[in-house]
């Protein structure tokens, strides 16, 4: 019997819609997991971690050395019950440690194998990743409690093996469904943030960034903390909606519609940290007092004993009303604030993707169009004005190519905002808007 209390809640920002149709309402789904007893770290579930380290030529200049130091630092935080795999990839793939128990006896061997990593060749990311998965999944086959956590550390673009970001994202999703979770740590300014984000989101993990070589260790240990703090893995929201509505999921890649249900993967849920998903619902034409009913249920896997968890079903309704009643209705500002934050992060990450694809004019037009709607929406919200100021800044710059670092800040900071996560690089990192203002 699991000792995790896993709950879901759902609410619309407004509960009424105009009978003539095309009203847009936002549904906020909130997930929470609470471990009933505060166990000590020594009692945590054993870990099965695979570090997949880019050793291509560009990792020279101190990056690989810093990654090795980070790997050694991570190993020091593991115990004899944990297993560690270390793989490096360049034009080839090397398995340095294959699911080794992190015992005192093995400490010298772990140190020696990690120290051997050296730069060479191109970036066979897929090969390295799959080799790491193979090792960690082998451990999980022997002991199902050992969920494989694969962490890719890379500073470059996949340019050997499988390089198509969509195909890699698809593999990440398939592996997640088979119990393998993948997080990514992008190093420096040259990595492909969209590729790593796709792998991490579909892989049930997290995207991290280390702008500076000196940040690699703290970010990798931050990922370890995130793993320690996770109580439910591979969480997913299922939503059954009336066929007459149109639904768009804000800010999450990898959502899908299957058998009339909308599935939104949310990945890991940490103890007492609320995760939200925001769905934009466009209502159909209806008769006065017609009701639209939405059913939401969430599921996930308890980290401690791997039991499948399912929340109670939450039902929410929208009611069709005449124009005047619709205009006068109450808006829940707490829900509206969550919507505004997620919507804003969605705009930022979408603009970054368009900019990366050199669609500069489209990006500018997109931000301007969304800004017009968001401006009206945030009226009366506490942080609304600041949000709009940042997006106006983005709109002014979106028509030109962003620096590689700026794109990463946009993607990483919007991911952190949408996933209620801490920036593991430290508190001193400037917001993307501050960087943009100073002309970075």
């Amino acid at each position: 019997m699991t000792d995790v209390n896993f709950t879901a809640a759902a609410a619309f920002d407004r509960k009424l819609f105009w009978e003539d149709g095309d009203s847009v309402r936002f549904l906020v789904a909130r997930l929470k997991a609470h471990r009933k007893d505060d166990r000590r770290p020594a009692e945590r579930a054993p870990l099965n971690i695979a570090l997949v380290i880019d050793a291509s030529g560009s990792m020279g200049g101190g990056k690989l050395e810093a990654a090795k130091e980070a790997a050694l630092g991570l190993a020091e935080h593991l115990t004899a019950r944990d297993r560690l795999t270390v793989v490096s990839f360049a034009s080839d793939v090397l398995v340095h440690l294959d699911g080794v128990a992190v015992t005192t006896d093995n400490a010298a061997r772990i140190r020696s194998e990690i120290s051997r990593l050296q730069t060479r060749g191109r970036t066979l990311l897929s090969g390295g990743w799959f080799a790491g998965v193979e090792c960690a999944a082998g451990i999980a086959e022997e002991d199902p409690r050992m969920t494989p956590h694969v962490i890719i550390l890379s500073d470059g673009h996949a340019n050997d093996g499988i390089v198509d970001p969509e195909e890699l994202r698809e593999h990440a999703g398939e592996l997640r469904m088979r119990g393998v979770l993948t997080s990514c740590l992008g190093i420096g300014d040259g990595y492909d943030e969209q590729l790593l984000r796709g792998i991490a989101e579909s892989g049930g993990g997290r995207l991290h960034d280390a702008e500076l070589t000196s940040e690699i260790s703290s970010v990798l240990l931050g990922e370890l903390d995130d793993i320690f703090g996770t109580v439910v893995e591979d969480a997913q929201i299922e939503l059954i909606v009336p066929t007459s509505v149109r639904v768009e999921v804000l800010g999450r890649t990898g959502s899908e519609i299957r058998d009339g249900r909308i599935l939104v993967p949310l990945g890991p849920v940490q103890n007492d940290v609320e995760r939200v998903a925001v769905l934009k619902v466009t209502c159909p034409k209806a008769r006065l007092n017609d009701e639209l009913e939405f059913a939401l249920i969430a599921n996930g896997r308890a980290v401690d004993d791997r039991t499948r968890l399912e929340t109670d079903t939450v039902l929410v309704r929208l009611i069709a009303v005449d124009g005047a009643t619709n205009t006068d209705q109450y808006r829940d500002d707490e829900i509206a604030m969550i919507v505004a934050r997620t919507w804003s992060a969605h705009i930022v990450s979408t603009a970054a993707r368009m900019n990366r694809d050199a669609a500069y004019n489209e990006a500018r037009r997109y931000v301007e169009r969304e800004l017009r709607h968001l401006c009206r929406y945030v009226e009366g919200l506490d942080q609304g004005r600041e949000m709009i100021r940042e997006l106006e800044l983005l709109a002014r710059h979106a028509g030109r190519q962003f620096s590689s670092r700026m794109r990463k800040e946009l993607v990483v900071q919007s991911s952190l905002a949408m996933e209620s996560r801490v920036d593991r690089r430290g508190m001193g990192k400037a917001a993307w808007s501050a960087r943009m203002e100073r002309g970075d």
């Binding site: 880019d54 080839d92 090969g127 093996g161 088979r178 299957r258 058998d259």
Partner: protein, 229 residues
Amino acid sequence: MSDDELTLEELSERTGVEARTLRSWVGEGLLAPPFKPGRGARYPASNADRALAVRALKDLHGLSLSEIGRRFMMATEDQIREWALEAGPTTVSTGSARDYLRRIQTRSATEEPPHRSMEFFAKKAPSSASERPSFKPRFGKPSMESYRRARSDERQAELASIERLILQLERVLEAPAPRRSRGTVWTRISVTPDLELSVRGDLEPRERVLFEQLADQFRAILTGRAKND
């Protein structure tokens, strides 16, 4: 609304393939494009069979998307329907992660299997190999060999199809065409989706790598990503 047309969401529901993935398959030319682009775009219903066939060929036969594209070019609609039937129910079947990886490995048979680090460093430290007898490469050869055998059978079938096509064309012309064409080997290296580097001749692996590096440099200059790996 016609039964012959489906939205992307309907296609997704029928096939169990994510809308986003379907969109990328349209981009790869595996599925037919929408009748009219834009919001609520509608696609030919035959895309459902094609999507299921892609699923079957990818997941069950371990083929890459480019290989599936080649198969589709030669296949009849009946053949595509047969592959679609192989895809089975639309719910995702979850075998083990390692089974899944094995299927992927057969697709990229040209990739070298991973080495254990002591193999790599054996030249420098021969004694280290004997210290860790427990390391066994998991990406064994049998799957590669069976893959190559399968590829060889497929190639024979494709050549037979081409021979049949030549005979049909000869019947159209009522005589064999004068024999003038001579094949030349070219190595094509993609630089960007719209630009490629073509080099005449069957290149040695080392030569090919050099031209690939040259293409990487061109790509970096053209896309302004000179610092990327």
